[in-house]
């Protein structure tokens, strides 16, 4: 049995009285790319937020690196090596690119590594170095997504949660981002990717889970899913 970095067990999540996730269980293998697919509103982002401590589950538990996360706040999750690149990027738009990156390395254990981390991020995304002194809000959509990922990498994450990194970006930028995700994974970062771009995701993912209206519906390796009739119908829009 491979090492599991993250295990989500029988989780129920509510927004007020509205239930968003029903008895969801899944796991993320260490050093692998795990993907979560599902339509809008299926609960993918909710699941990521639950893992990073933004939302607390009403039932169930989350085990990270062998120990359960109890009453975990986002800043605690971050200190444990979970970096969450949220939906919509959530950059500090009035701060410069460099300041955004520096804040990515805010935690005391990674702050001394700021310089090396910066070099690494600039190596992955050279355009960020060029835009270093610019306010983050002035970047293009693709550059903003690079900055959001770069900022998360500054924390030297063990587990990187990516929420729809390709949303609204040009195909060439999407390709660059997916290539980068693969590089990061090869460097040892475990990745949990939420996406709507099914084709690209199946290309890079080691294992895929499918959420449907708050319930975990299917799982498998990309090759297995591609032969699944229900999966093809739901995501590829054709049968046969």
């Amino acid at each position: 049995m491979a090492n599991l970095l993250l295990e989500v067990e029988n989780v129920d999540v509510f927004y007020g009285v509205a239930q968003a996730l029903w008895d969801v269980s899944f796991s993320v293998e260490e050093r692998k790319i795990t993907a979560l697919l599902g339509a809008n509103g299926a609960g993918k982002s909710t699941l990521l937020k639950t893992i990073s401590g933004v939302i607390r589950p009403a039932k169930g538990r989350i085990v990270y690196a062998g120990s359960p996360l109890i009453d975990c706040k986002p800043e605690k999750a971050a200190s444990l090596g979970i970096s969450h690149v949220p939906e919509g990027r959530r950059l500090f738009s009035g701060l410069t690119v460099l300041e955004n990156l520096e804040l990515g390395a805010y935690l005391p254990n990674v702050r001394p590594l700021t310089k090396e981390s910066l070099e690494r991020v600039f190596g992955l995304f050279p355009v960020l170095k060029k835009r270093m002194r610019q306010a983050a809000g002035t970047l293009s959509g693709g550059e903003q997504q690079m900055l959001a990922i770069g900022r998360a990498l500054m924390a030297r994450p063990t587990l990187l949660l990516l929420d729809e990194p390709s949303l609204g970006l040009a195909p060439i930028v999407v390709k660059l981002l997916f290539d980068t995700i693969r590089v990061l994974n090869r460097d040892g970062v475990t990745i949990l990717l939420v996406e709507q771009n099914v084709k690209k995701t199946l290309d890079i993912a080691d294992y895929v889970f499918v959420l449907k209206t708050g319930v975990m519906r299917m799982e498998g390796q990309p090759g297995q899913l591609l032969t699944d009739r229900e999966f093809r119908q739901a995501f590829l829009g054709r049968i046969g």
Binding site: P74, E75, P86, R90, F92, L103, G104, Y106, R111, G137
Partner: protein, 297 residues
């Protein structure tokens, strides 16, 4: 309505306005910082200033120290006071939303005013400095030493806060938390801690502004409210979230008041200030100096 009789008079009125504005500016920076962490107008800012003024009053009454030593005393004491106020009161209430925080700030203002009235009486107090009547003269324009010291303190305080926000990681975290608390938490920043730091600095600045006020104006326990309003107007002039802008906004306000008091009459200074405030809010809500920021997603 009467115009300036000479260039010297004009310069004198201008200089007086700049000095007055420095005081507004320091209070405005505090207000702007607190707005950043709580998203509310901290209406008790002026009452806190007057509390600092009373501290100085009692200090010079019972010790031989000059009021300006008060800056050294007031800054750490009020930063600590701010920290206690945030962690003890606002941190709990902030969870319930902005309106409860605003109500709490209002309640705090009334409480402070009445406590001061109860303990210190409602009499006007004045703080005299050795140099109260000393002045320098340059080309016929007089600069009172008191006001020069205050302007220097205002500039130093502004510069320090500016450097803190731009150069230190904690200062950058303060700006990040003001922009997006949730995203900051995901990077490991503890929003409560960062907000407590911000609030403490804001209260420390209110203390500095209080010391500056008491050596210029006679004050009573209720004198602070008008300063909360003035600081608010200065912030509106300068644009929220900019330290330099808040100081400059204060200076603009001071000059505007001083000019209108001279040309139209003393009673009109406030009316002109509030009218300018309304015009700014209607036509340039991002402030005279503020850039219109792109809408947050």
């Amino acid at each position: 309505m009467h115009w300036f009789s000479s260039l010297t008079t004009f310069l004198q009125v201008l200089v007086n306005g700049v000095f007055l504005g420095c005081m507004y500016g320091v209070a405005a920076i505090g207000l702007s910082l607190v707005f950043g962490c709580m998203q509310i107008i901290f209406i008790a800012q002026g009452a806190v200033m007057i509390l600092a003024a009373y501290c100085i009053f009692w200090m010079i009454t019972f010790t031989p120290l000059s009021p300006f030593w008060g800056f050294l005393l007031i800054i750490p004491v009020f930063v600590g006071f701010g920290f206690a106020m945030y962690t003890g009161l606002f941190q709990r209430v902030a969870k319930a939303g902005k309106n409860p925080s605003l109500l709490l700030a209002f309640g705090l203002m009334v409480l402070l005013e009445h406590l001061m009235a109860f303990f210190f009486s409602s009499d006007y107090r004045t703080v005299k400095t050795k140099y109260a009547s000393t002045a320098l003269s340059l080309a016929g324009v007089t600069f009172s030493v008191n006001r020069i010291i205050i302007a220097v303190v205002a500039l130093v305080a502004t510069t320090l806060v500016f450097l803190f926000l731009k150069r230190t990681i904690l200062g950058k975290a303060v700006r990040a938390v003001s922009e997006d608390m949730g995203a900051a938490a995901l990077l490991g920043m503890r929003p409560e801690w960062v907000s407590a730091v911000t609030f403490s600095i804001g209260i420390g600045l209110a203390g500095v502004a209080g010391v500056a006020t008491c050596v210029i104006f006679p004050f009573d326990p209720y004198f602070g409210f008008i300063f909360s309003l003035k600081a608010l107007i200065a912030v509106a002039f300068g644009g929220l979230g900019s330290v330099g802008g808040a100081l400059l906004g204060g200076v603009i306000l001071g000059v505007l008041e001083s000019m209108s008091a001279y040309t139209i009459g003393g009673g009109w200074a406030d009316a002109v200030a509030y009218a300018a405030f309304l015009l700014i809010l209607v036509f340039r809500p991002e402030g005279l100096l503020g850039r219109s920021s792109p809408e947050k997603a």
